[in-house]
Amino acid sequence: MPEAAAAEGRGASLSPPRAGSAQRQGELGDEDEGEQEEDKPEQPLARQDLFVCFTNDKDLRHHETISIKASLYKGIAVRVKSLNHIWIESLLFAIESAKDLGIINLRFEECQLRKRAVARLIDFCRSTNIIESLGLIKVTFEDGQDFKRLVEAVSSNQKIRHFSVQSAAFDQDYHGKTMARCILESRSLKELDLSHVTFDDPKSFYEMANGLLNERCRLGALKLRGIQFGQLEGQVMQYILTRNKSLQTLDLSQCSTDSPENLANVFGKFDWSCNVKTLVADNLNVDFNCIVETFGEALGANLKLEGLSLKENKLK
């Protein structure tokens, strides 16, 4: 997979979760309404939502250091430019040897994973029953095929419920096929976050969707925030909305399109045939007026949707 988008600067050691894990699925994210950004009261985060973020490779050299620093948190985020097998070893040893710490979330951000580091991570993913959520955010691989191997390992894991592959470039159809296999083969996966993935090879979206269109699909939540909907993606999404029976939550926030008709057709499928219960479509990068009529008509016939968030669109 080619280099992902540029890194977003942040140097703090404590990292509140990002889009991939910040909000539990099914929530419509209105907890901060009525407060201006600069005047928000401090909201205590639940422990499971807190990550300790390692941004310095020196902190990853000794598993004892990792254990001590992570002892108050449920998650570890790692953001170093290049991650080798020694640091991964320390990190995973710290997690495995301190099960009592209860670290259940692991996230890599803006890293390049070296080949031997991925090999160790694959072993970990095949065997661990500790981690419940794994995030790869703007992660690149020294060997492009390692993405496939790692996702296969996640598929075989029986504990990981939330898997996030954000801001990646799916420029080969095997990226989509790999995700489809993961959707179908994983016994534990409930939520898949592919936000801000660029489907540079449109076939990769089609291939990924094959997993969602299969009747064996058991995925409950799909996040596709910031996806660009071309004609093919729009048509495939319509099929998903019509045929998929398992998805309860869908997040299409910040999606964009080169033609509003593509998104209008997608939103027109939230009708009687759609099984989604919670739709989040905040801040769409499209003139909402272009879709409101079709969407409203579909909603009139919808029988399942219980939660709808349209924050930050322009309902004129």
Binding site: L28, E33, G34, N302, L305, S309, K314
Partner: protein, 166 residues
Amino acid sequence: MAENRSLRKINVAKTEVTDKVCTKISIFLQQPDLGLQDLNLSRNQIAADGLIALADALQVNKSLKTLNLAQNLIREGGLHAFVEALKTNSALQELCLSFNKINNAGISALSGFLPDNHTLKVLDISRNAFSDSGFVDFARELAHNKGIESLNLSKNKDVSDEVGLR
């Protein structure tokens, strides 16, 4: 959308909802057998006419339990109609009017529902523009209310503890 009966929660915060759009929302809320329980209209441009439209809806709506109108353009206008609706509404349990511009006359008008409505449990009127002199009426009527369990008055112009204790 008017025919939809499955929706329980709608969040349309920060969507530039004006009084005109609010009128359409009001019509939706007046549909019989509506299941909607939670409506977030915060950070919009709802003023007097929008509030009156919502009052019309609350006169007949029996499902809405939570209504968030924070950070709109609510001052004094429309509050009398809204209070009249609250007097008869027995579904609404949480109302957020925070971060509006409710002044002394507005808070005095708002107090009118307190003796008659005993189902509203949570009221947030923080970050408005009233002071002690306007809050006196509210505090007096509050004594006759049996529903309010949580009242947020913080960050208003000048509300002192003494008024609440009288």
